[in-house]
């Protein structure tokens, strides 16, 4: 009915187990909209799309408006500024290992969009000074280092 084991029971082989490491590997095609978004980042630009039907300007960009369910093919160059919609100060990694210097993940609402934004990090500021609704600006990698990745933006930092 749910026989409880301790980690020790397994390590000392009191019960039998099989260890396995999966070797599944992926090469995800970025698709059309995100492919173009990533190319934009390499060029130092944040690209969004506009739905000509409802007028919504969104980022991340998409080839269709999920509200109107129509194609959305109008590309818009967006400013690299916005506001902190929400943030966290995170002391652990994905496998729950503790880190000394916390990451500050945030949802950045990008200016000139219809309440749209994306996940990124806050930097160049003390964790205790970050606030919701704070205005921020992207800090980019040097053009020579950019490779068409979300990390071409190093982080967002408070707008002075």
């Amino acid at each position: 009915m749910g026989t409880s084991l301790k980690e020790d029971d397994i390590e000392r082989q009191k019960v039998l187990t099989v260890a396995y490491r999966p070797k599944v590997k992926y090469a995800w095609a970025t698709g059309i909209a995100i492919g173009r978004f990533l190319m934009g980042l390499r060029a130092g630009e944040i690209l969004g799309t506009k739905c000509e039907h409802c007028g919504r300007v969104v980022v991340p960009p998409r080839t269709f408006c999920e509200w109107c369910f129509k194609e959305s093919n109008t590309w818009v160059k967006l400013p690299d500024t916005g506001i902190v919609n929400t943030f966290s100060i995170c002391y652990i990694t994905a496998d729950t290992t503790r880190v000394k210097t916390p990451l500050i993940p945030a949802v950045i609402g990008i200016d000139s969009t219809t309440n749209a934004g994306f996940l990124h990090l806050i930097g160049g500021v003390k964790p205790e000074d970050v606030r919701i609704d704070m205005r921020v600006k992207a800090v980019w990698l040097d053009a020579s280092e950019r490779k068409g990745s979300i990390t071409d933006i190093k982080y967002f930092t408070p707008l002075k």
Binding site: A19, Y20, V24, A27, W28, A29
Partner: protein
């Protein structure tokens, strides 16, 4: 089409696994490891001896608690000669693999075979040397054809 649609992002699952043998699996693998014998779980209601054993009968969902010993000589139900490993790479040598049925058991065993076999051949289970057994299905070395 835009070149950007050709971009690929590579990735994997950064996790691994550890599976318990479970209640019936523990009993089965321990019997092989300690005593070099096969056991099945008996459903007295359906009159079936499940091999490998389980804690339940998949037909009537009774809880199974009685174990019976199964003689380790059986018959090849079907076989194949597998050329690739689990990752899709060529095996150093093709492996003959068979599903073997045992006279008093419901189910059977799937394992490698030493040498060539045909459907209907009689084979016996060859266990690894006792000192080398680890409590795994690989404590069975292979099936061997009985001349």
């Amino acid at each position: 089409m835009d070149m950007s649609s050709e971009l690929k992002v590579e990735g994997d699952f950064p996790i691994h696994f550890r599976y318990t043998a479970g209640l019936a699996g523990e009993r089965f693998l321990r019997e092989i490891k300690d005593n070099g014998r096969l056991v099945a779980a008996r459903c007295s209601k359906c009159e079936l001896n499940y091999l490998p054993p389980r804690i339940y009968c998949e037909r009537c969902m009774s809880k199974l608690e009685d174990y019976v010993t199964i003689a380790s000589v059986g018959t090849v139900d079907t076989f194949t000669v597998c050329k690739q490993d689990s990752d899709g790479k060529d095996l150093p040598q093709p492996a003959t693999v068979a599903l073997v049925r045992f006279p008093s058991a419901h189910g059977g065993l799937v394992h490698k075979v030493k040498g060539e076999v045909a459907i209907g051949d009689k084979v016996r289970v060859v266990f690894r040397e006792k000192s080398k057994r680890t409590g795994s299905i690989l404590d069975i070395e292979h099936f061997e054809k009985i001349a």
